[in-house]
Structure formats: C-alpha cells, structure tokens
Assembly symmetry: C2
C-alpha cells in the first residue's frame, strides 16, 4: 500500500447489517477511487473471505482484526470503557496513529461520538463534536449543524458550528465562501431567543459569509449552504422532516392502491414517481460528519445499505482529501486573532 | 338576534384579501350552522352591500362599522396604541363585552396577539398567549403548541401549554383525556435540554394524560393528541414542514411535466394526486387558537381563501360552544390545588 494515498478506516461490524453491507460498499468505493485505500476493521474470519474474492483490489485493501463489536444499544460510557478492542475503536485508533486519514462507522451514534472525542481529541476551544449531515434542497444540498449532540448551546457554540459547517462545505463542495444562515423564527415582535440573538452578532463579526437569519422553510429552499442551530432544534427539524416525508409517501402509496383504476394510474405514473424518489433518495445523503475533532470521523445511518454506506465512505474520503480538519483549525485560529484585535461588538463586518 | 346563541365576531378587514374572502366565509359558516350568529366588523360601506344580497341570513348577521384596519406589517406595539378603532380591536371588544363568544382574524399575528392579551386579558398565571394550530397526522390531527409566541420558556410554561392544548383538544374533539406528548430528542446519551427534562417531571404530576417524550417524527405519526414544545422549536418545526412539503410538491410537479410521456402519466394520475392533495389540504387545518386568554381568539392564515377562513370560524364556534376557556381555567385551578397538596416532586402520577 502506498504511503501517501488517502486511506479510510472502515468499522465493518457497525450498523444493522455489518460486513454484508460495509464490505461491498468499501469495494465499490475502491473501484470508483483509483488512488484510495481502505482498512476493513472487524472479525477477520468474516472479512478476509469477502475481500479474497477481489484479488484486483488486494493492493489497496487490508483487514485489521477486531475482537469486539459495540452493540447498537450499548451505553456510550460503557462502550468507551469496555470496548477497547472493538472495530469502532480500532478504526479510530488508525486515524489517531496516522495509518488512516478518516474513519467511517454505521454503529451506535453515542458511542461513536464518545470514542471519537476520546481517541481523536477535540480541537482547541471545541467542547464536544457537532453532528453535521447533508440534506437535499430545492437547488442542491445544505449542511446543517448541530443535529443532536449539543442540546444546551451558548452563542459561542453556534459561532463554532458556523465555522465548522462552512469549512466542511468548503472542503466537500469546493466553495470559497459558503453562505452561512442562522436558523431563527420570523415572529414579528420577537426575533428569536436570547442565545440566537447573541449568536447573530458573533457570526456577523466572524469573517464568514454570514447571510443572517433564515426560517425553517428556508432550509429546503436552499437559502444557505450551511444552517446553524442548536442540537435540540436541529434534531427536531430533522426528525420532523423524516416524519412528514414518511407520512406523505405512505399516503401517496395508499391513494394509488385504493382501487383498480388508481392502480392503473400508478402503473402509468411509476417511472415518474421513481425518478422523483431518486431525487430525494436519503441514501445519497448518508454520512454525517462529526466536526470539531482532530481527525475525520463520519457517521453512517445504522440502516444504510451498500449504496448508502458507500456515500458515507466517499464523504470521509473527500473530507480527508480536502483537509477539512486543517481548514477548521485555521479558521478557529483566525477567529481568535480577530477577537484579539477587534472587539466582538466592533463595526468590522466581513 | 337571539341572546343565548353563539355569536362570532369576525375581523372582516384582516388578511390578504379582506371582505372578498371573510364575508363569503362567514355566510357559508352561517348556512352550515343554524344556531350561530356573526358580527361582521369592518368598513360598513363594503360589508353591508355584501350582506344585503343574502336576506335569509339577515336575522343572524349584523355589521359593526370600524374606521381603521391594522396593516399586515404594522408593529404590534403601535397597532395596540393607535388602532383602537380597527376592525381587529372592535371584534375583540365584542368578546370582552360578552356581545360575541369568540373572534376570528386573518390579520397581523403580532398585533392580534398583543390586542387579544390587552383586551381579553390573560388567565391567572399565564403570561402571554400561546399559539396552537392543528396539523394533519397519519391517523387524524394533532394540536401543537407553542408555535412562536413564547421563545424563552420555562418548564412551568411548557406545563401550561400541556394543560391548554389538552383542554383545546377536549373541547374541539370531545375527547375525555387527550394524550399529551413532550417534544424531545432521542439522542442515546443526552435526552433533551434542562428545561424539557424539568417539564417532563411537571407533566407527570399534572393529572393530564401525559404519555412522555415524543420525537419529531412522532408528531406526524400521530403519537399524541397534543404536542408540547417551546415557541422557537415549534415555529421551526412548522416552517420546516412547510418548506419540505413545498419542495416535494414542486419537485413532483417538475417530474410530471418533464416531457410528453410524463405529462400523459400526469393525466392518468391526476385524480389520485388530487385526492392526495385534498387529504393534506392546509386550508382544512386553518385557524390557530390563541390560548391562555379569558376569551376565544382565533388566528386565520393571512392568505386564507373563503374555504380556509370558514374553517377558522368553525373552530372559533366550536371552541366557544364547548367552553374551552372555562375548561382551561378549571384545569389550572385543579393544578394549583394539586401543587398545594402534593409537592412537585411527589410520587403521585395520574
């Protein structure tokens, strides 16, 4: 294996389906990315035979045996304490040691967050990782953070989310100055709660391309490349979206299977409906970034299939290849300098 | 006009379309509700001719002249100070005086909230009105509050929302013990922020049919009759839903108009799609209740058409006819008694 290639450490045992999903995804990823390498972390007696069927990829893939698996319902604290030989932990260790440049896991979210934080460590001034997924919009996609890791946020936290999200968008989408919006409410007399108001002031003076407040519907209208909110609000927004989409999809199905006539109509409409479904296929958006760490750690949905899990690996690869951690570090250092030179309430507005 | 009939005071000048929507809606409402009466409040030279065309309804409808209109973009504070002769204000005055049992307006939300609070007054211990709309779910509908009026909430506020929402559901849907859910997030290691955790404890000891936490997707799954959250989260959830629904509808339209074949498919699917649209027609859910007041005040969407505005009037009628204010009062009094007898941390759990 080449020493300067990007290598992705893959927790092959995590998620609802384990190696039957993670290994095919890793192989598909390798075929599409000539320069990339992977380390398949997990039970070698399961992984090695799957890999052996693809001798053409042997040069760019290896197996690292792990004795243990973090269970999906395991307490993060206990997992951190007891699962030191787990596939999740060993994958993160590889990133820590520099043997891999990013890790991907479909395992237990809380455990992954705790382990990522413990193994990779946080960047200076960042308390805990923010979870940043990518979501479809009318005109592309949006990065939204935090999505559940940080529920009691200060204005300073929201500012950090803005920086981390902007640097992720810059790295993954090659945008020089991604637009950052602050999720707020539009009531005429009360614009947001106190923390959000303060965060708006901080973001104005951050040097980011801050475009001000956006309301909930602005997320899907694609009003900003990055949307900043606290973890409670972000989690509710994401789950509400999932619930609504599910309700609409299920009802549409019901309407089309009402009787013979509607079933014929469904037949006629099928290609269109399929195309529509592909457009918002959540699998394409799989792979949330844990930001604020000194390394790249990507969380895949637990129920991801091979296609979805491959998207998460691609995101890990792009994040590492485009130096997202270094970008965030530099931006935070720049902010410290700005805050040292210009007061937070100063008139300078980039 | 009979003195014991329910009479609804209608701000006929509010909203995007004024009398051209509000008057036909009021007339349709009267035709469907034999025992009801309305007072059409607004410019009499506009309203009287519209009413004169329907002599059969003359016994149950009258016009109350108002010189002024609250503009949609007027500051609530200024509207409260300067628009004492506005249609919005006079409609609320009628409720205050007992000449009407409920009022409906499609005007400026902030102004309506400020005026409702000033004219009707709050119930004891309630600081400001909560805004409670009704939303469709997989198996019916849900009342959600607060939707934007109260952004910095205490646990006590959330408890009050639970009481007010439950009493609204009881009044409008004739349910003896509507289920109340607390909107929360499901992250494995951190269940909600501090205020929500405390609110959960208070709701457990409230005597309400509290079913515990529900996540964002549970709203549309119909997991609870009433969903409680602070105004910031509620507003975001509502707007996110609007944005997502809009994006999906627009994309579906785009897919069906892609080429001749897809247009033919659209033709075949049209009846099904229409039926689907009717099922979630937001017009059917028009009419948010301002709760916590000593009278019934209903807010219609500003862009409501006659059908939608009529639904808001119906909701006002049902709320008044089923004594929602008295129910809330009684429930709050009951709570005070419970809190006097059992400590908030007591083991009693209804």
């Amino acid at each position: 294996m080449s020493s300067d290639a990007i290598s992705i450490a893959i927790d092959c045992m995590g998620g609802d389906f384990g190696p039957s999903v993670t290994v095919p995804a890793a192989l598909a990823f390798l075929r599409a990315h000539d320069a990339a390498q992977v380390v398949l972390v997990g039970q070698s007696d399961l992984l090695a035979p799957l890999l052996a069927r693809h001798p053409d990829l042997a040069q760019r893939a290896r197996v690292l045996h792990a004795d243990e698996v973090v269970a999906m319902d395991e307490s993060p604290t206990l997992a951190l304490k007891n699962r030191k030989k787990s596939s999740m932990r060993l994958a993160l260790n590889l990133v820590k040691e520099g043997a891999a440049q990013a890790s991907v896991s479909a395992g237990n979210t809380g455990a992954l967050m705790a382990m990522s934080r413990f193994v990779l460590k946080m960047l200076p001034e960042i308390d805990r990782p923010a979870l940043c997924p990518v979501m479809p919009t009318m005109n592309g996609h949006v990065y939204m953070l935090d999505l559940g890791a940080n529920v009691d946020c200060t204005a300073e936290h929201l500012l950090q989310f803005g920086i981390m999200g902007a640097m992720l968008a810059a790295a993954l989408d090659h945008k020089a100055a991604p637009s950052v919006g602050l999720l707020n409410i539009g009531s005429e007399d009360i614009k947001g709660n106190e923390v959000v108001k303060q965060a708006g002031e901080l973001l104005k003076n951050s040097g980011l391309n801050f475009i001000g407040n956006i309301e909930g519907d602005g997320i899907y209208k694609g009003e900003a490349d990055v949307v900043v909110c606290d973890g409670f609000v972000g989690n509710v927004a994401l789950k509400v979206s999932e619930g609504l989409a599910q309700m609409l999809a299920q009802s549409l199905k019901q309407e089309f299977s009402r009787n013979l006539l509607t079933r014929l109509a469904a037949l006629a409409a099928l290609p269109v409906l399929k195309h529509f479904k592909t457009r918002f296929d959540h699998r394409r958006y799989n792979g949330a970034s844990l930001l604020g760490l000194r390394g790249v750690s990507i969380k895949s949905h637990g129920s991801a299939d091979a296609f979805a899990f491959e998207q998460a690996i691609v995101r890990a690869y792009e994040a590492a290849n485009n130096h997202v951690v270094e970008r965030i570090s530099a931006c935070l250092a720049n902010l410290r300098q700005r805050q040292g030179i210009t007061p937070a309430t100063g008139g300078e507005n980039a």
